[in-house]
Symmetry: C2
Subunit: 114 residues, 2 copies
């Protein structure tokens, strides 16, 4: 089944997890397709200066794959610079945040597995 790019995939989250700005989530597939072991498979776009606030994952792990831009993350309490091609793995019980410190959109793929 082909799903052509469409506005219904897009969700805007204002001040996501206490962060700054409007975060754009493009949902690649819905829960009915992903099944019980995958909670989210989305592309996330963070504009320059915007951020997703620090938060913990419980009963699941999240993997970020950065495909454009650069920024700073808090990776379970440790600050790190990230850029295109880097991966952040946040295991069950761990926490993270993301800040776009660059001058272009920071774009990444997010996958949550249970």
């Amino acid at each position: 089944m082909i799903i052509k790019k469409n506005p219904e995939q897009l969700e805007i989250k204002h001040n996501m997890r206490g962060g700054a700005g409007d975060i754009e989530l493009t949902h690649i597939a819905e829960s009915g397709v992903l099944g019980e072991h995958c909670r989210l498979f989305s592309q996330i776009r963070v504009k320059p200066g915007d951020s997703i606030g620090e938060h913990q994952h419980l009963g699941e792990q999240e993997i970020f794959y950065f495909i454009q831009g650069n920024g700073i993350v808090i990776d379970n309490g440790k600050k790190a610079e990230i850029r295109t091609g880097d991966v952040m793995i946040t295991p069950d019980n761990a926490s993270h945040s993301v800040i776009n410190t660059g001058d272009e959109d920071l774009v990444f793929i997010a996958l949550i597995l249970k």
Copy 2:
């Protein structure tokens, strides 16, 4: 945990599934991280004119999210044009192939869920 972009993520498959050229797979996370319900989470790069041959998935489903370029797929027997932002969902027992018919690399994220 941050995994900086590195050559160990990259796998080259020649004539993948009977297709043309050298297909580049960047493995975002390994099986030990993905667990028993996710077999693959990778970025796939197909150069202009190259292809992944038609093949069937059994006991799993695959989701492609196209992030660059354009091409043609055989989506379970039906030919379709795809471009950036499109999604192809290949359920259990279904088949697919991908051909880069454009003049830039065709890049997509592939997720296999069991």
